[in-house]
Amino acid sequence: MIKILKFLATRIVSLFESFGRYSMLIMNIFRSYSSWGLYINNAIDQMILIGTKSIPIVILTSFFTGMVSSVQAGYQMESTITPKWIVGSLVGETMLLELAPVITSLVLAGKIGATIAAEIGTMRVTEQIDALESLSLDPIAYLVFPRMLATLVMFPVLIIIANIFGISGGIIAAMTSLDVDAYQFLKGLKTWFKPWDAWYGIIKGLSFGLAITSISCYFGFYTKGGAAGVGRATTSSVVSSCIAIMILDYVLASLLL
């Protein structure tokens, strides 16, 4: 019993320590704000990596998610007297409010989160972060700031793309599988549409993106050990990012809806 309590106590202390270090890392982004200008080119590189190179996977996942939600909405309505255009309303709202930001962020937690943690983690174990510091560069400003800035700019763009392709997928599935034409689908979409829903999805996506990037930077930055340590950091960053997305999803829904 004592052993279990000791184990739990150690885990809780370690959790608080990790949260403290994470908070310090985020705060320390601002300690070298005067040198941010030096890292704008790095931020542009990261925008390409985080944003542009993620567009194909975002299109693919959102398109099929939209198609599936359309088919499932049609299935739910099959035996009711509900008008067919409701499919457009359901697909539109679920994509804007939930599926586009959540599915996109979960996919990107795997793609971007793993890349960031592995890259920074490798830099840590090969002493490249020490080398940055020994050259008087601020490693947090050099490594974390450009990634956070890139996320701030690119995640809303990715969510908008996911919305567009998710709804497009929904229309195509409705036309091909449910005998609902585009006019009916769009009528349904417009009937329930509120601009705030689109903003809410973008705010959610941006919050998820900042969580993914900051968590992955944290695990990469504090990697210990060699290749095995990088592997552990990468796994931890993806798992923690996914958990953070789920928790934030509920918190934001409670606060903003």
Binding site: S32, S35, L38, Q128, D130, A131, S134, S136
Partner: protein, 243 residues
């Protein structure tokens, strides 16, 4: 001058350095030796504030660096370069940009002057026409030399070497030692080197400290080290147990 006063460092309840004190005068070359895992690299990283001691003081040019803010510490580091064990070159940058990043940040030179500085630094370590290559395109020995080129490009007063000859063959090791000597003479640098290599101790250093179990067990000249009658020191120098 670098003065280390009673520093101790503990990692996960294990004492790595225990009340260490030493002095390095300007222009001197200090070798830190000892078995693997005794904390030589940990001690070296205290010199430029990469590791902060749990207690004690590190005084560089009359400033206690372990009490400085991050920005003030960065200013101290402008006069102090470090050459890492495996070069620690930035993978995503070319050799040119690996050196340029230091010059961009630490100097106010014009673009032409920076380019000249990069070429000169690489020539100093006997490398040329490799500026456009990436670290993965060159050998381990070349990476170490580029690491030295990056370190001397900013014209520091102090240079720290972390096991500069580890993993090199005897010929390349000899060339590396000659290079370190050349850099020291040309640039009038104060050098601190962590090593297992007795050749470095005998040919490069004029002061040696030996660490064991967190303490300095020897502090003196290479000649004094070689004539020591201490069994452990003899074991380390000769590489065989004399009992």
């Amino acid at each position: 001058m670098i003065l280390i006063e009673n520093i101790s460092k503990v990692f996960s309840s294990k004492t790595i350095l225990d009340n260490i004190s030493l002095k390095v005068k300007k222009g001197e070359s200090l070798a830190i030796i000892g078995q693997s895992g005794v904390g030589k690299s940990v001690l070296l990283k205290h010199f430029n504030g990469l590791i902060i001691p749990n207690k004690g003081k590190i005084i560089i040019d009359n400033k206690i660096i372990n009490k400085l803010s991050f920005i003030d510490l960065q200013n101290i580091r402008k006069n102090m370069s470090m050459v890492f064990q495996f070069g620690a070159l930035f993978d995503s940058l070319t050799i040119h940009d690996n050196i340029m990043i230091a010059l961009d940040h630490l100097t106010n030179l014009s673009k032409i002057e920076k380019e000249e500085r990069i070429t000169d630094s690489l020539l100093e370590v006997n490398l040329k026409d490799i500026e456009s290559l990436y670290p993965n395109d060159i050998s381990g020995g070349m990476k170490k030399r580029v690491g030295i080129a990056r370190a001397i490009a900013i014209k520091p007063e102090y240079i720290l070497y972390d096991e500069p000859t580890t993993g090199l063959d005897p010929i390349t090791t000899d060339k590396m030692i000659n290079l370190m000597k050349k850099v020291r003479e040309n640039k009038k640098l104060t050098s601190i080197v962590v090593t297992h290599e007795m050749k470095i101790v005998n040919e490069f250093a004029n002061q040696v400290i030996m660490l064991n179990e967190g303490n300095i067990i020897f502090d003196g000249s290479p000649e004094e080290l070689n004539s020591s009658n201490d069994k452990y020191i003899k074991y380390f120098i000769l590489g065989k147990d004399i009992n």
